[in-house]
């Protein structure tokens, strides 16, 4: 049995993410916050379903990152798709680097520290991996949206 709250993201997280993007004095009604919770669940289901359909058509069983990016683009979220493709590329680089590091440390071979433009810090246990999507001349997320 799936509990009602399992179908939604925690409202605390939803509220926090909204607060990050809104001005300090902005208030959100409880109803609006709860509706946002439902909207994001719909978004997750919608995008995943689209990605999954593509996999079915191509006789693949596992949905990967590229499928999600494709689904975002296919559903009209080009801006998101572009952003996520870049993120995915860097994420894969980071994973590759991590794998290489593990390999190197296990063979007791000290490699040079490779510098990455994204500011990776392989020494820390919780790596800081940030990059920004810059405004293309409109508001942060409205550029290139249909």
């Amino acid at each position: 049995m799936v509990e009602e709250h399992d179908k939604l993201l925690p409202i605390a997280n939803v509220g926090r993410i909204m607060k990050h993007i809104l001005p300090r004095n902005a208030k959100i009604s409880k109803e609006a916050k709860e509706t946002m919770q439902e909207c994001v669940s719909e978004f997750i289901s919608f995008v995943t379903s689209e990605a999954s359909d593509k996999c079915h058509k191509e006789n693949r069983k596992t949905v990967n990152g590229d499928d999600i990016c494709w689904a975002l683009s296919s559903l009209g979220f080009d801006n998101f798709s572009e952003f996520m493709l870049r993120y995915l590329h860097k994420f894969r680089e980071y994973e590759r680097h991590k794998a290489e590091q593990n390999k190197a440390s296990s063979s007791e071979d000290k490699d040079e520290v490779t510098s990455y433009g994204v500011g990776l810090q392989p020494d820390t246990s919780a790596p800081i991996f940030e990059f920004q999507i810059l405004d293309k001349g409109g508001s942060s997320s409205s550029a290139n949206l249909k």
């Binding site: 978004f43 379903s49 009209g76 940030e130």
Partner: protein, 134 residues
């Protein structure tokens, strides 16, 4: 963790703010979905955060246009309507707005209830005035 950034940038970190376990559970609600690999889960989680920020921003803009400080459902609805791809999948899922006539009726009732103050002791009621002359 997302930081406070100027309005024109969105910062994403490799640690999403949304719990990936919950995202996975939501994805699994759809029986047609087989497997989702780890990177797909991370990508969809970040995309969802991005979408949430996007909706929040657009709703705030609508609230501002209407000179309101509190973002309400009606502002979210307008924001959704204005973005075609979002509107396509989301508009029908939004809760129905309360009918204006119902809302007014409720407001009026609440107002009349609030206006009923206890009368001071010794006040003559108008009934008593009329009874005197019958």
């Amino acid at each position: 963790m997302a930081e406070q950034e100027p309005e024109s940038t969105i910062t994403e970190s490799v640690q999403p703010e949304i719990p990936t376990r919950r995202v996975k559970r939501i994805m699994k609600l759809d029986k047609d979905i087989n497997k989702v690999n780890a990177e797909a889960l991370v990508v969809i989680t970040h995309a969802t955060e991005f979408f949430l920020q996007f909706l929040a921003e657009k709703s705030a803009l609508v609230a501002l246009e209407k000179k309101r400080k509190t973002i309400k459902l009606e502002h979210l609805r307008v924001a959704v309507k204005r973005h075609q791809p979002t509107s396509d999948f989301l508009l029908d899922s939004l809760p129905m707005p309360a009918q204006p006539s119902d809302q007014q009726l409720l407001k009026d009732r609440a107002k009349s209830r609030a206006n009923k103050k206890p009368v001071p002791v010794g006040t003559r009621k108008i009934d008593a005035f009329f009874q005197k002359f019958t």
